[in-house]
């Protein structure tokens, strides 16, 4: 029993420090001025939150999430469903922001997060629509 306890304890330490490291790395990268690190940082942040959500149903070992007659106990299945939804959504969002930063890079030739404006930027601003198209 004590080996199980120590496994859970070390797993808790591993998970907690892993979430912390991922979050810290993500936040650091988001602060950078280039679009690529920002995108990577956002991905790190979403990995961190996925692992965080997963651990929110409490950490258990060798327990099934679905009803079974032989089960001694259960692990919480709901966080797993939440993580699945979160993964799908952040995957779509990341794809979108990758396309946006690529488009910005192709249009301006720079991957600065301010997407350095073209000289005709004021014209498109003034007419309130996409004059650059």
């Amino acid at each position: 029993m004590s080996t199980v306890m120590s496994t859970v304890m070390s797993m808790e330490f591993l998970l907690a420090s892993g979430i912390g490291a991922l979050t810290a790395a993500g936040l650091y990268l988001i602060m950078l001025r280039r679009t690529f690190p920002v995108v990577i940082g956002l991905s790190f942040l979403s990995y961190a939150v996925n692992v965080f959500l997963f651990s929110m149903g409490r950490l258990t070992i060798d327990l099934p999430p679905i009803v079974s007659e032989a089960a001694k106990g259960y692990t919480d299945p709901l966080p797993q469903a939440l993580v699945l939804t979160a993964i799908v959504i952040t995957f779509g969002m990341t794809a979108l922001i990758v396309v946006l930063s690529l488009r910005g890079f192709l249009e301006t030739g720079s991957d600065d997060v301010t997407l350095q404006a073209q000289p005709d930027d004021d014209a498109s601003r003034a007419s309130g629509d996409g004059a650059a198209r």
Partner: protein
């Protein structure tokens, strides 16, 4: 009867998919279907409003899973009013967008319907994680609408807008995870029951979750210091999209009202009113920053964006008063300020048709300037339009509150400064306009002008029918504060047996 609750979510979901998959080629068909779908949502919203006006909360259990295990949609006076507001504004915007902005890129109408799906869903859902999902739906659609038509300025603002909202989504998930870890549920009614029973050792963790959630809603409702994304985003997108986005800040305000009256409201035990001090303080700062932005604005879209931020400040001051009068005033103010902001964004589009500032003159200058004048009056809160009554009600609600000094001085001083800002901009724009030489004048687009005029008429109607409106808003505020009705509608009787105040 309760299955009607799914209609405002189901119509845009199906129509948007049909528009993308089956109606790609014909713009005329897309427009007809989009207008018909928006009209159907308006009819559904009116029906649900009538249904909710008996003061009862109704729940629809998706897949007939009993709460708190399944996802539940809940209709009460607040959600019904917000749905009605959404469909009224959306009907105006979709008519105004036709032939003006819907051809600048592809799939405008599909994105528009997806946006409505997200907004309607967020107003109806009774589950915190489902609220996250609907937030994402409305955000994904808003990214598309925001970038619709393209252009480098839009692209830059779009990148920042997507990035801040992705961070917001992550914070939302952290908050949801923390709340779930402590309470073991995400159903709002179930949370309202479980939060007061939380063990003393977990209160700190739950407070962290509650305030993280508040951060997310503060981003959505553009509260200082999380307001900076709004002006570049709304200011650079197409006027039709911006007019619809005026609703999105209200989704943030709605979520604040819902979560911090139902879950962390007066009955929440140790966590009662956890966000109230933050709401009031930040709302005052938001109002001041918005006003400074209005005074500093150099273009009409910027001016409107900052006046929108200022109006969110005013609205949230009323929410921060944490009284039934404050909530009722806040909701009346929210309805009229949404209509005002939408109409102003559309008017900015109308004025910008010939180019910003000292560009070719518009025909019917008096009409355009008159509309600007009326909307400016409504926005700063001068009589006789509904903005005046809204601010008056908020001042009146603050009269009996401990925060009267802060609320009155903030609202009254910023109102004066807002008048200066709008007047200065009007003088600069309209008095410097060259006189018409009859050559370069384009006719005014009828639909767009009519929609703006219709919204001004709606503001006048809100003012004329302020009595019945306020009766409804007061009943709504009382329903919000008496949370037992909501909880009983959602949870089975066994789970609510211990509730007091039956």
């Amino acid at each position: 009867m309760n299955q009607w609750l799914i209609v405002p979510v189901a119509i845009p979901a199906m129509i948007a998919a049909v528009l993308v998959l089956a109606m790609r080629t014909s713009m005329t068909t897309q427009r007809a279907i989009s207008v018909a779908a928006t009209a159907a949502q308006l009819a559904a919203a009116i029906g649900l409003f009538v249904l909710a006006s008996d003061g009862e909360s109704r729940a629809y259990f998706l897949g007939h899973w009993p709460a708190p295990f399944g996802i539940v949609l809940v209709l009460d006076r607040l959600s019904a009013t917000m749905l009605l507001l959404t469909s009224v504004v959306a009907s105006g915007v979709v008519l105004a967008a036709i032939r003006e902005w819907d051809t600048r890129g592809r799939h405008f109408h599909a994105l528009f319907q997806f946006q409505l799906l997200g907004i309607n869903g967020a107003f109806l859902t009774g589950d915190v994680f489902n609220l996250f999902v609907f937030f994402e739906v409305l955000l994904i659609a808003s990214y598309g609408l925001m970038l619709h038509g393209g252009g480098p300025r839009r692209l830059k603002a779009g990148f920042h807008y997507v990035a801040i909202n992705l961070i917001g989504s992550t914070v939302f998930l952290f908050a949801v995870g923390t709340i779930y870890a402590v309470t073991g549920t995400l159903n709002m009614a179930d949370l309202a029951v479980k939060v007061p029973q939380v063990a003393a050792g977990n209160e700190a963790l739950l407070s962290a979750g509650a305030l993280l959630l508040f951060t997310v809603f503060a981003i959505k409702s553009a509260m200082v210091p999380l307001h900076w994304w709004l002006a570049p985003t709304y200011g650079s997108t197409s006027p039709a999209a911006a007019a619809l986005f005026a609703l999105m800040t209200k989704v943030g305000a709605y979520s604040i009202i819902r979560v911090y009256t139902l879950i962390f409201g007066a009955d929440a035990g140790a966590l009662a009113g956890i966000a109230q001090p933050w709401i009031l303080t930040l709302a005052v700062v938001t109002l001041i920053m918005g006003t400074i932005g209005v005074l500093a604005a150099r273009s009409l879209p910027d001016l409107i964006c900052y006046s929108l931020i200022a109006s969110m400040g005013t609205l949230l001051i009323a929410v921060g008063l944490a009284s039934a009068e404050g909530l009722a005033a806040a909701l009346y103010y929210a309805v009229q300020s949404t209509v005002t902001s939408s109409a102003l964004f559309l008017l900015a589009g109308l004025i910008a048709r010939g180019g910003e500032g000292r560009a070719p003159p518009l025909p019917h200058g008096t009409l355009v300037i008159g509309l600007y004048f009326l909307l400016a009056i409504a926005s700063v809160g001068m009589p006789p339009l509904a903005g005046f009554l809204g601010k008056l009600l908020i001042l009146d609600a603050a009269r009996t509150s401990a925060h009267i000094a802060v609320a009155w001085s903030a609202i009254l001083i910023t109102s004066l400064l807002l008048i200066l800002g709008f007047a200065r901009f009007g003088i600069q724009t309209f008095w410097n306009r060259p006189r018409s030489d009859g050559a370069a004048v384009q006719p005014l687009p009828f639909a767009l002008t009519a929609v703006i005029a219709g919204m001004v008429a709606a503001l006048a109607a809100l003012s004329v029918f302020a009595g019945p409106m306020m009766d409804n808003m007061t009943a709504m505020a009382e329903q919000l504060i008496a949370t037992q009705g909501y909880i009983r509608a959602v949870l089975p009787p066994a789970a609510t047996a211990g509730l007091v105040g039956g």
